[in-house]
């Protein structure tokens, strides 16, 4: 049996390889490439068997590489044959958490700019065992609720920590859930959800916190410590007894005629500040009627979804469900304001640069005349460089272009440069805008140093920003309003896709121990030409600033 199988394989291989010749080379076991080593420790002791994986950052996207190493008995890992590049090294250990989440609160990882054939040492990870919270979710009859959402959220007041520490899971067929790898701290546990269910209506159970309270303020706080396991964190969910429907019509606000086949959606206000909108593909019928079922009491709004190429828009119509069905809502459409134009790429006719345009987007920021309200819209750039916004509010519009390596330098309307934004009236149709962009391919590669060659402070976050000197007053543009560059574990940074010019590079740091302001700052000027890579060193010096600026993320 085995031998005949083997024969069959070799036959196939022979036939195939004579038909198609793959120009494949098998990699020799070469010794070139960089080496990265370090230690993973738990309570100062080397942790064996932990995978450290390299993730490559390419043009803003991340992808894993085949570079993976396990720590040995002493907790030491060694990644070899690493080509130069911009990487992230991550200790991939689901049950462990970083001891100090300050430098990178989201993951047990560091960024690393790797040069050709270098040896990088002491890229260490200090981890600890996270906590466990487990329990069971049942209905009021004690039946297990299966695949019910369970979430834990930080009970701390620090909002950034609250976000990064949110975790969720689902119960199994016994109603049991188990969340592990939880960073030490205080948590609240909730089961169920107040969002709309993907089936359309309100979910069958109200969100309830342990121990069986609907008000988050009354939830019991669970203290998670290193390696702790808190069991029997059970939650009983109450059924939603009555649900109601909402009905109404979508009409043309100018003619009063019903609009058929208009897609609509519903927004639920989960809290006064948090809402969720769901469109399930439903469309209005021949008489413009819409309908939504299974809503429990609460605050909602209905909206008509204007397709991106339509010439109308409609404001959401809010409503409240109390103890009966809601009927007679009217959604009125109005003629939409549209703005269209084309992106003009200046200074290059490189096809690969042109290709970066499609897939990118144009962003419009509109501020009302009285400056009380600002809305941001985005529109995709089509392969011919054109873009179109529909349904904009009235106000003054400024624009930005979000496409890799491309920077908006001016906006033209009817051949006239618009330096301060374009006023847009309600229902106005503006076409023929020209957004002129430049392509930047210069780079600044730098390293941060502390005066007197002292080591960079541990537990500090570093930020680098670049600003082109002599830059004209500019439209709103995310890519040019001060660029930031990520600083790696060794104090290195790389800013790519820069237009030629002179930049002021500013570096500063924060530490957790010194929350009042930045403790180190450095500035440096650098001039780059087209396509050049310039290396610089920025020296940081102690500086105390009373008014601390908010760091950019």
């Amino acid at each position: 049996m085995v031998s005949s199988g083997r024969q069959a394989i070799s036959c196939i291989v022979l036939v195939l390889s004579t038909l198609i010749l793959a120009q494949a080379q098998t990699a020799p076991d070469k010794l070139s490439g960089a080496t990265i080593t370090g230690k993973v420790t738990i309570k100062g002791k080397g942790a064996p068997g932990i995978a450290v994986v390299l993730i490559l950052n390419v043009e803003g996207s991340q992808r894993t590489t085949r570079h993976k190493a396990f720590t040995d008995d002493t907790g030491t890992y060694r990644l070899t044959n690493v080509p130069p590049g911009n990487y992230r090294a991550e200790a991939a250990a689901p049950a462990l958490v970083a001891v100090d989440g300050f430098r990178n609160p989201f993951a047990k990882s560091v960024t690393l700019l790797i040069n050709k054939d270098e040896t990088v040492q002491n890229i260490d990870f200090e981890l600890m065992r996270g906590g466990v919270i487990t329990g069971r979710v049942t209905d009021s009859d004690g039946r297990p609720l299966i695949e019910e959402k369970v979430s834990i959220s930080s009970a701390e007041s620090n909002p950034s920590q609250a976000f990064s520490r949110q975790r969720e899971t689902r119960t199994d067929d016994r109603g049991v859930y188990r969340i592990f790898g939880i960073a030490p701290g205080n948590y609240k546990v909730a089961a169920g959800t107040n969002e709309l269910s993907p089936f359309g209506g309100s979910p069958g159970f109200r969100q309830t916190f342990h121990p069986d309270v609907e008000d988050a303020a009354q939830a019991r706080t669970i203290n998670v410590t290193e390696g702790s396991e808190t069991t029997n964190v059970d939650i009983t969910l109450k059924r939603v007894d009555h649900t109601y429907s909402v009905r109404g019509r979508i009409i043309d606000g100018d003619t009063g005629r019903p609009l058929a086949n208009v897609s609509y959606g519903i927004t639920v206000y989960i809290t006064p500040n948090a809402s969720q909108t769901l469109s399930d593909g439903s469309v209005s019928n021949n008489t413009g009627e819409f309908k939504w079922e299974n809503l429990r009491p609460g605050k909602y709004a209905v909206r008509a979804n204007a397709p991106s190429d339509s010439d109308w828009r409609a404001e959401e119509v809010p409503f409240e469900v109390n103890d009966r069905d809601v009927t007679g809502l009217v959604v009125k459409t109005t003629k939409a304001t549209t703005v269209s134009g084309v992106i003009i790429l200046d200074g290059t006719d490189d096809k690969s640069v042109l290709a970066k345009l499609s897939g990118g987007q144009v962003v419009a920021r509109i501020e009302t005349e009285d400056k009380t309200r600002t809305s941001t819209y985005s529109a995709g750039i089509l392969s011919d460089g054109s873009f179109r916004f529909s349904g904009l509010f009235a106000g003054v519009a400024t624009f930005g272009v979000e496409a890799r390596g491309l920077e908006l330098v001016r906006v033209e309307r009817n051949g006239v440069v618009q330096p301060t934004g374009i006023p847009i009236r309600d229902r106005e149709q503006i076409s023929g805008l020209r957004l002129i962009v430049h392509y930047g391919n210069a780079s600044v590669r730098g390293v941060l140093k502390v005066a007197n060659d002292a080591p960079l402070p541990a537990n500090a976050k570093f930020f680098v920003s670049l600003k082109r000197i002599g830059e004209p007053v500019r439209q709103f543009d995310q890519s040019s309003s001060g660029r930031s560059a990520e600083v790696d574990a060794r104090g290195q940074f790389l800013a790519e896709g820069l237009l030629p010019g002179t930049y002021e590079v500013t570096a500063y740091s924060y530490t957790r121990d010194e929350p009042r302001g930045q403790v180190l700052q450095g500035k440096q000027q650098v001039t780059v030409t087209d396509g050049a890579v310039v290396n610089i060193t920025v020296t940081l010096e102690p500086r105390s600033v009373p008014n601390r600026p908010q760091p950019r993320n």
């Binding site: 120009q23 080379q25 098998t26 993730i55 089936f199 309908k291 290709a355 897939g359 890799r404």
Partner: protein, 571 residues
């Protein structure tokens, strides 16, 4: 493959009579009520019931069963509905009919949900420590009738911090359990087990994996896995060619010893020129580069065969080349026959044109997915169509249309006139001559001609009651006129129903011989092929067999022939 071809032929030859239920007055609204119970008849609370109107009306509602297993949806328009009842960890009772049942307002309905099976166990490493956060899948390899499955039911979970996994809601059948996945990320960040080869329970490769029998409602525990954590091989390389800038997909096709193929696709973002597949077993793989299909016209590279043995494979270069395009139009030839007056032609947008590659000539040793890129297309309002993304090969063409009194007259291709020529080139009959399509070819001038005057034929096989007869039969109409002897469009065929009935439609008027054959191996190989340009011999054979029987029939324009008795003699 064979089955799907037969299906396509059948649907093109038989009218698809839509059963429309009459009398859907949308004036009144009402309720649908019902009850959901488990396999022991006990009420099942908390089951999700979703009610969706049949057809384009998107009217729908959902409910959750009460403590007593009952549910009620109100305010439903009086149209037919489909009802779907589900509950996690439970499975619906297998149904005998494929057709989804329809319900009406006022109905009181009941459903049974059965608790699915459970597989649970612990994953540990060689040192006996728990393997945490690894993906574990239960894959059904045989169903409850012991039928082998390819790509059957598959459910995946993660192990917890104790290495414990629990997979529930499994339909009855035989499963294998595997730990490890090539996913880049898991719930906790980067997947620690990326690039590993999968480990099958208890601690083996696929060929020696333990088979686990699962019955509904039962729990199989201690399906433990000793995780091997062996690094798989990597194939990597670079890509080039047009339209790569908008992102690209590399398809890795692994070839099993049985000849069956499985594809793994990886999309790379715009800007990238590199690809890598990790965690691979040693063996043979095809690599094919494909550009984004959403941009309408895609490009494709030649497929490269790579043998992974003893080392990673680097430096594979794939270059995309544009695929072929054949455009053309649908021409309509009305009939003057009195019987045909007032019969509507099919709307152009309902006419679908497809291209079929010559399997005998196409390089056998290449991924099969490339033939699916050139999907059937519909004509536009003016009858123009464009078949895109055709991989280099020889092709013939087919058309489908929903109009009973029209038939497919011809499919011809007018090649471009040579430079300086005064007259147009002569059209080529594509039903007789294969059309060669090369990379980047853009052929125009394909004309699909539909003529009015099609007849239809309903026949009944009459068996000698004494005879022991095969169950399945094919029936053909074979052209009796000598001039159509090798006109493949004048050959019609279909499968005979178990009651001995056959219906053929969209038939060109003319004289035919009726032929029935038991669906034996010979007939099965001939049946889906009888319109293939290469199958002159098949048509000659069918015509010779039909000529001997001499059951002749003449079809007049727009004639409907019903209840034609076809005596079946012993074979």
């Amino acid at each position: 493959m064979l089955k799907s071809l037969i299906m396509i032929l059948l649907t093109s030859l038989l009218t698809t009579a839509q059963t429309q239920r009459p009398g859907a007055e949308a004036s009144k609204s009402g309720s649908i009520t019902g009850k959901v119970v488990n396999e022991r008849g006990e009420p099942l609370p908390n089951a999700r019931v979703s009610v969706q109107a049949v057809g384009p009306v998107r009217s729908r509602a959902s409910a959750i069963t009460n403590r007593d297993g009952t549910f009620r949806v109100d305010g439903m328009e009086a149209v037919p509905y489909h009802i779907n009842v589900s509950m996690p960890a439970y499975i619906t009772e297998p149904s005998d009919t494929e057709e989804e049942k329809q319900y009406r307002v006022g109905d009181s309905v009941s459903f049974i949900l059965i608790k699915g099976g459970v597989i649970t166990g612990t994953v540990t490493n060689a040192a006996g420590n728990p393997v945490i956060g690894v993906h574990v899948s239960a894959r059904m390899i045989r169903d409850s009738d012991d039928e082998e499955l390819d790509g059957g039911f598959d459910r995946r979970v993660n192990t917890d911090d104790r290495g414990v996994y629990r997979i529930y809601g499994l339909p009855a059948g035989t499963y294998i359990v595997v730990a490890g996945s090539t996913d880049e990320y898991s719930e906790w960040g980067v997947n620690p087990f990326i690039n590993d080869l999968p480990t099958y329970a208890p601690s083996s490769t696929r060929d020696t994996a333990a088979e686990i029998s699962v019955r509904a409602g039962e729990e199989t525990s201690n399906v433990d896995i000793r995780y091997r954590g062996e690094q798989g091989r990597t194939i990597s390389g670079t890509v080039g060619g047009p339209a790569i800038a908008g992102g690209f997909t590399v398809v890795l096709t692994s070839v099993e010893i049985s000849g069956s193929q499985s594809d793994t696709s990886k999309f790379e973002q715009p800007g990238s020129r590199q690809f890598a597949f990790t965690g691979l077993n040693e063996g043979d793989y095809y690599l094919t580069l494909r550009t984004d299909l959403t941009t309408n016209e895609a490009s494709l590279s030649e497929s490269k065969l790579v043998t992974v043995s003893g080392a990673d494979v680097e430096g594979i270069e794939l270059t995309a080349k544009p695929l072929g395009v054949v455009s053309g139009r649908v021409a309509l030839e009305p009939s003057k026959a009195r019987e045909c007056q007032g019969k509507q032609p099919p709307p152009f947008k309902d006419i679908s044109v497809s291209a079929w590659h010559r399997e005998t000539e196409a390089t056998k040793n290449q991924p099969q997915f490339i033939w699916e890129l050139g999907a059937p297309v519909s004509a536009d309002e003016r009858g123009n169509f464009s078949l895109i993304n055709l991989a280099p090969a020889q092709y013939h063409f087919a058309a489908r249309f929903p109009a009973r009194s029209w038939y497919l007259q011809s499919i011809s291709l007018t090649p471009p006139a040579p430079a300086g020529a005064k007259t147009e080139s002569k059209p080529i009959d594509t039903t007789r001559v294969w059309t060669t399509i090369k990379n980047g070819a853009r052929l125009s001038g394909l004309t699909v001609t539909l003529a009015q005057g099609a007849a239809s034929f309903r026949g009944q096989l009459v068996f000698d009651p004494a005879e022991n007869r095969p169950v399945e039969w094919f029936a053909y109409l074979v052209p009796a006129e000598a001039e159509h002897a090798n006109n493949s469009l004048r050959f019609y065929g279909g499968t005979v129903s178990p009651e001995g009935k056959i219906q053929l439609v969209n038939l060109a008027p003319g004289r035919y011989w009726v032929l029935v054959q038991p669906a034996n191996d010979d007939a099965l190989s001939a049946f889906p092929q009888f319109r293939n340009p290469d199958e002159t011999e098949t048509r000659v054979r069918l015509r010779r067999a039909a000529a001997e029987l001499k059951t002749e029939i003449e079809l007049k324009p727009c004639q409907d022939i019903g209840d034609f008795k076809i005596p079946v003699k012993s074979q």
